[in-house]
């Protein structure tokens, strides 16, 4: 079981989340050239080691998190809210 430290809910089983893949992919503008969209949608770095990735807490607060996880050891070194405004608001609360 991966235990994901959700900034809103605390440490939770990964089964509460939906995995949304590589967080480093920059999606281009809706009318960007085809090549840019092709790369964003289809090509992946797929590292063996540290990986920034998106997890969606669908069975919890429904926030999307950016989780730093090692794909080889599964060690999780951090998690933050993906939405900058929500992250800032949480920071203020704390």
């Amino acid at each position: 079981m991966l235990r994901i430290p959700c900034p809103v809910c605390g440490p939770r089983d990964h089964t509460e989340f939906v995995y949304e893949g590589d967080a480093t992919v920059a999606y281009p503008a809706l009318d960007a050239p085809e090549q840019e969209w092709f790369e964003a949608v289809f090509l992946r770095e797929n590292p063996r080691g540290p990986h920034s990735e998106i997890w969606h807490h669908t069975q919890g607060c429904r926030a999307l998190l950016i989780v730093e996880r090692d794909t080889l050891t599964h060690e999780i070194s951090g998690a933050r809210l993906a939405h900058p405004g929500m992250a800032a608001a949480l920071e203020e609360d704390a």
């Binding site: 235990r3 009318d31 960007a32 085809e34 092709f38 999307l64």
Partner: protein
């Protein structure tokens, strides 16, 4: 002494006699016995038969590492095959029987295999059974025979009648194992205020101290254990519980056996519990497992591990025989001999070393135990009850024979490091102790006691207290006082027993008793070139049986290492994987069984429909009304045509609650919709709705549905039943990661609304009398929305009505808060019936949409573009939207792509089915031209068969030619004509009314 039960001693309750059966024979034992100890006490020696050669086998071990004594427990649906006799707690009424033998384990016809054993060497099956033809025909016949011969016990054919539970647990510290180190660790941590769980696979606590005659910290073992247990008041102590797996995040899987040991368990109790523990720290006090040695006929009943001999004598007061030879290569084996001598039984020690340590030698001499130094066991001769163990000085071809009834083998120890290895930790060979120890464990996990290679009770206890102090410090930041952890050691000088060999002698020396793997098999594998330890394992199947090589694994790789002329660490070890001991499938599945495998979703109007006789079908988790029989026994084929006809001629109503509903709110809500839908939503007026289609990033159609604008900044989006959850997730992903600048909030309201679609020429006539406001074309035009109330029995309920049509008729979708669903349903149903209409189900819904040419998930199968689906005109050219760019890729814009079409059989009496392939009459082969996605009797087209589906290049290409609809699986071909799918009421006169 009666049988082999000793007259005194043991941690059994002699006052509590238990009766059990073995192969139908009634036997007696005591509370505190295992099945193995009770069988031994009754003089039962042959408990099982080998896998391949069917040689008789007895009991080897005293715990779950048992490699030999597999039995079947119980019968009928509660039959359990392959139970290890030492692991089974005796209870009154236990029924055990032998397996993999006919007629019985005592006299097994299969033993003739033994005569052929020379031909059944490792991997022989890879080299033969090819058959005479090039195909697999003959092999398939050979395979049947092989399968029948293989396997161990037989599983029940009936469903397991028992229940299992899954329990989610949290604690500060989980201690695995209740031997001296586990008890000491738990006690210290509990005293420091930690929330501790202590689990023990055995039914009794104390591990090796149960029945032991030793003193610990100045107290007798029994008293010391009692004192420790007294200190565990706050600890959750769980016997009969195996920690079977250590997973990521240090989550531990436990299997607790709840009722297996009870004669007549409370039926309310589950048979077992899977406990998923998320501990702050884990201490593994799992002890060590003794190893067998390889010598001739070492598989005979009566050959046991020396530690097991000691345990049977001390804990269970059972002697393995009247005269026992203990073969050892360390001081440790003497413990068994001393235990036997204390019980007044004869014991001889054969020690491979030149000398034992002084203390051990003195103790043996004092007890009158004969010691034969510098000798190894070579071969066992004779029959159960009257053996002679031939022993020889290392390398001699022959030696003297010692008469005996049993042999105890102290082959060396393997610390039980399995759990930590589940985390990917690699074992490290320790030459001095001749065993693998754990590599650096992951943070939060500590091995202690014998599991850490710290042998000797006093040292193990000290190590455990130090480990517990570490855990306390890790979790609380404060370090309690504790002794310093001793280094691994404590076994004294060791000369591990591996394989005994003698020049010119062929010995049948087993290393895996369950799979009948001999040392010769391992050497053969090495000679053939299967030199990686994994290749050897897989080629010989060594260590792959239900014991997973716990007693023979390291022995096998030592033999491989020698055969290859390399060291054990150079040879390596195979990987330990969960579970530590086998766990029932039922326990892991827990409550997700039968009806409860998947949740059932019912709409608020389900019950009303069920009472009216509705027949339901599964749509994902939902139960949806399939059709509503007009009378008992009306079949689907009749019912849906009647229902669809009513919609075309009068009026029908259908439960549409399962549609996904997502509230989209905020100042930028319209902008979000504009980006995710291919068509525009920015200019949609308030209280109007619009059909929209959304694409995936790659330009393929994802979902469709109608979105209602309730206010400038408030939309109610509907999604298909199947994609409801996915669409919500998708919108959240977009809003939180790609477009954080958009001020929009989305939330699922699927469960908040109950919905009814009312369709047909008399739809308005049916509804108007119960709707509070005017429903005329002015007030509620096509695609208009009305917020009003509906009169129901006893009052009025709030509703939202939209004039939307899926069938092509005048139609309304009426939504009310879920709780009012049944009342709304009854009110609408009364009006529909008054207008000579009826309730319809999803089959009729399908028929109507096929006629109208509307697409569903049957067409939108994740490979279809907008144009393919006949929706190309919807795409806005004025704005970008998700998927627009990649939808322009060349293969997705080809003109010959399959596109939506209607199909009619040339001969109206002929029918075709969904999944049939549309082909060119000249080429009924390959991938065809297209395929059929929906078929119905079509009242709107004269009542003949009508299909919808896809065809290459679109229907216009086939205006003047026929196609073949081929369905080889169901065995027919039908000639058909192709039409555009949108041809019913193309001007929309029926919808607009």
């Amino acid at each position: 002494m009666s049988g082999l039960r000793l007259n005194t001693g043991g941690a059994i309750d002699r006052a509590a006699q238990l009766s059990f059966t073995w192969d139908g024979k009634k036997l007696a034992g005591h509370r505190g016995d295992s099945l193995a100890s009770a069988l031994l006490a009754n003089g039962e020696r042959v408990i099982a038969r080998g896998f391949k050669y069917h040689r008789p086998r007895g009991i080897v071990a005293a715990g779950p590492e048992e490699p030999s004594a597999l039995v079947t427990l119980g019968k009928g649906p509660r039959r359990v095959p392959n139970a290890k006799a030492p692991e089974v707690e005796l209870f009154d009424g236990l029924a055990a029987s032998g397996q993999n033998a006919w007629p019985s384990v005592r006299m097994d016809v299969g033993a003739v295999n033994s005569l052929m054993s020379r031909f059944f060497a490792a991997g022989f099956y890879y080299k033969t059974f090819f058959g005479l033809t090039k195909d697999t025909a003959h092999w398939m016949q050979f395979e049947k025979v092989i399968r029948r011969a293989a396997g161990l016990g037989a599983a029940a054919r009936e469903p397991d009648p028992d229940a299992y539970e899954v329990v989610h647990e949290h604690c500060d510290l989980l201690v695995v194992g209740s031997g001296p180190s586990g008890l000491a660790a738990a006690e210290l941590a509990a005293a420091e205020g930690l929330d501790v769980m202590l689990v023990e696979q055995d039914f009794a606590l104390g591990g090796g101290l149960i029945g032991a005659a030793e003193q610990v910290e100045g107290a007798w073992a029994k008293d010391w254990v009692a004192a420790r247990l007294a200190g565990l008041k706050s600890v959750r102590v769980m016997p009969r519980t195996t920690a079977f797996g250590l997973y990521d995040g240090n989550v531990v899987g436990l299997y607790e056996r709840v009722t297996d040991h009870l004669s007549s368990p409370d039926p309310a109790l589950p048979r077992g519990r899977l406990r998923v523990v998320r501990p702050g720290a884990v201490i593994l006090a799992t002890g060590a497992i003794e190893r067998m040695a390889a010598f001739g006929n070492n598989d005979r009943p009566g050959v046991m591990l020396a530690g097991a001999v000691e345990r049977y004598a001390r804990r269970f007061a059972v002697a393995p025989g009247r005269r026992t030879v203990i073969a050892t290569g360390g001081d440790d084996g003497y413990r068994a001999a001393l235990a036997l001598a204390e019980a007044g039984l004869e014991a001889v020690v054969v020690d491979s070393r030149a000398a034992a340590s002084d203390a051990v030698a003195a103790a043996a001499d004092k007890a009158g135990i004969e010691r034969i130094m510098g000798h190894l066991p070579l071969e066992l001769h004779g029959k159960p009850g009257g053996y002679q163990l031939e022993i020889a000085a290392g390398g001699s071809a022959a030696g003297r024979r010692l008469p005996c009834e049993a042999v105890g083998v102290a082959g060396g120890w393997s610390p039980a490091i399995h759990l930590v290895c589940h985390r990917g930790v690699k074992p490290v060979w320790n030459e001095e102790m001749a065993c693998f120890l754990s590599g650096e464990p992951p943070a939060g996990v500590t091995l202690t006691g014998a599991a850490a290679g710290v042998f000797g009770t006093a040292e193990a206890v000290a190590h455990a207290r130090a480990s517990a102090a570490d855990a306390v410090e890790r979790l609380t930041g404060r370090r309690p006082q504790a002794p310093e952890a001793p280094a691994p050691g404590g076994l004294g000088p060791q000369q591990p027993l591996w394989e005994s060999k003698a020049e010119g002698r062929k010995l049948k020396s087993f290393v895996d008793l369950q799979h009948d793997v001999t040392s010769a098999d391992i050497k053969q594998a090495a000679a053939e070139g299967y030199v990686s330890v994994e290749h050897m394992k897989r080629y010989t199947t060594h260590g792959m049986a239900t014991d997973q090589g716990k007693t023979g694994g390291v022995l096998g790789l030592a033999i491989l290492a020698e055969a290859l002329g390399q060291t054990i660490p150079e040879t390596g070890i195979t990987t330990f994987r969960p579970p530590f001991t086998p766990v029932p499938i039922g326990a892991i599945a827990g409550r997700a069984r039968g009806e409860h495998w998947r949740a059932v979703r019912r709409t608020p109007m389900h019950q009303v429909q069920a009472e009216a006789g509705a027949v339901f079908t599964d749509a994902g988790l939902w139960k949806r009304c399939w059709y509503m029989p007009a009378h008992d026994g009306e079949e689907l084929g009749k019912a849906y045509v009647r229902e669809a006809t009513a919609v075309r001629e009068t009026v029908g109503m259908v439960d549409v609650t399962t549609l996904g509903k997502i509230q989209v709110q905020g100042p930028d809500a319209a902008e979000l919709l504009n980006r995710v839908y291919v068509n525009g939503f920015a200019k949609l007026p308030v209280m109007k709705c619009r059909y929209g289609v959304m694409l995936r990033d790659d330009g393929i159609v994802y979902d469709d549905g109608v979105t209602w604008r309730l206010a400038e900044d408030d939309f109610l989006m509907t999604a298909t039943t199947a994609q409801a959850a996915g669409v919500l997730q998708w919108l959240e992903l977009l809003l939180q990661t790609r477009w954080p600048e958009l001020r929009v909030h989305v939330a699922s309201t699927t469960d908040q609304w109950a919905g009814i679609a009312v369709a047909g020429p008399r739809a308005r006539k049916a509804l108007a009398p119960i709707v509070a406001d005017d429903m005329g074309d002015e007030a509620l035009p096509f695609m208009g929305i009305l917020r009003t109330e509906v009169a129901v029995e006893g009052g009025r309920v709030p509703v939202l009505i939209a004039r939307i049509s899926f069938s092509g008729e005048m139609a309304y979708e009426v939504y009310t808060p879920s709780d009012f669903g049944p009342a709304l349903w009854r009110a609408v149903e009364a009006r529909v019936k008054a207008e000579e209409g009826c309730v319809y189900g999803v089959e009729a819904l399908g028929a109507l949409r096929i006629e109208k040419g509307h697409v569903t998930h049957a067409e939108l199968d994740g490979r279809v573009t907008l144009a393919d689906a006949g929706l190309g005109r919807m795409a806005s050219s004025k704005k970008p939207f998700i998927g627009k760019v990649l939808a322009g890729r060349p293969e997705l814009t080809r003109e010959d792509r399959p596109q939506l079409a209607h199909f009619e059989p040339v001969d109206p009496a002929q029918r075709f089915r969904i999944g049939a392939i549309v082909c060119d009459p000249e080429h009924v082969e390959g991938h065809g031209l297209g395929w059929i996605t929906g078929v119905t009797v079509a009242p709107a087209f004269g009542g003949g068969w009508l299909g919808i589906g896809m065809i290459a290049g679109g229907p216009e290409r086939y205006a003047d030619r026929e196609v073949i609809i081929a369905d080889p699986v169901r065995g027919y071909r039908v000639r058909a004509r192709v039409f555009p799918a949108h041809r019913l009421d193309t001007k929309g006169e029926r919808m607009h009314g």
